[in-house]
Amino acid sequence: MTAAPEQVDVLGVAREQVLEGGVGLSEEQVLDVLRLPDDRIPELLELAHQVRMRWCGPEVEVEGIVSLKTGGCPEDCHFCSQSGQFPSPVRSAWLDIPGLVRAARQTADTGATEFCIVAAVRGPDKRLLSQVRDGIKAIRDDGNDIQIACSLGMLTQEQVDELVAMGVHRYNHNLETARSHFPNVVTTHSWEERWETLRMVRAAGMEVCCGGIIGMGETLAQRAEFAVQLASLEPDEVPLNFLIPNPGTPYEDYPVVEGPDALRVVGAFRLALPRTILRFAGGREVTLGDLGAKQGMLGGVNAIIVGNYLTNLGRPAQDDLDMLRDLSMPIKELGKAL
């Protein structure tokens, strides 16, 4: 009779592989982390924090975002209250240039180094790009040198080049979820189309921001799949959102991700992406609350969106800034890379 194989402890392996070696976890390893029992979450978060400190450093990147064009989107992303295909209460709206300048100023006043201009579109048309160009110029004319990011959907090569010429520093385009789950979330375009935009963005020299939303009916295996697919993209930044079930969307009755599950995701994504900016984004207020936000920041997260989101409200920016001060986490200065 042979002895049963010894159980390999994934956190022990991660300590060697990720913390010491800087090599992210495999899909199977990420899944093992996502299956850790609750009583091992503190150990996971402590390790994830060590990985973040070792490979990213102590600084936190603070960002604000604003919706330039809200609602009326032709796509059917099932989580999104801005899709024109769902009976959501969100009405279409355009933010004017003075409003955009004010939003950028509000963001810079928090000490943030990044301001992301977002539009609910399949991809930008001439009008939208013109508004973005005028908006960026107006922000600069206002004396605001904050880095500008954009999130305008899928791009053509010509549009990528235009954004580079405007001085856009980083482009956000989320893959949202695992490739195997994407057709359950969006039917009007494919995961591959999104990937193609990201490829062009990277090739053009813009930083790549690409993450997704946890809690859209994906399995734990698909969360692990998503983490390693993101890792293979080698993004500069991964925003981590947790689903806010919005009225009128197909996911309006989905349960909010439970706190322990959210913390396992935070730790697992850090161990899969040891060198990437991992940003707390939408839904953390609902999923984790104030205490959980602090646990996440001490569990591998090294960036945060402060203030409100696109259509939902966030914590007051000052609460997050106070939290960072309490945690003795310095905010990244403008012009400095993490």
Binding site: G64, I65, V66, S67, T70, P89, V90, R91, S92, A93, L95, G99, R102, A103, Q106, T107, T110, I244, P247, E285, V286, V306, G307, N308, Y309, L310, T311, N312, L313, A317
Partner: protein, 68 residues
Amino acid sequence: MTATGQAVYCGYCGQGLDGSDHAACARRLGVVDPPRFCAACARRMVVQVTPAGWTATCSRHGALDSAR
């Protein structure tokens, strides 16, 4: 012009305040949502969320903002 009038409808779901429980709506409004429906007439409002606040405009009753 500012939104005025007695609150008859729920700003979150747009349903009447009489006879139904809107505690869950109030929680959403307190944490993650700006008002979406005019409390006076239940019209969907045009809402703009910015990093530090929001405005919600009813075509009949005017605008509310987060500073109130």
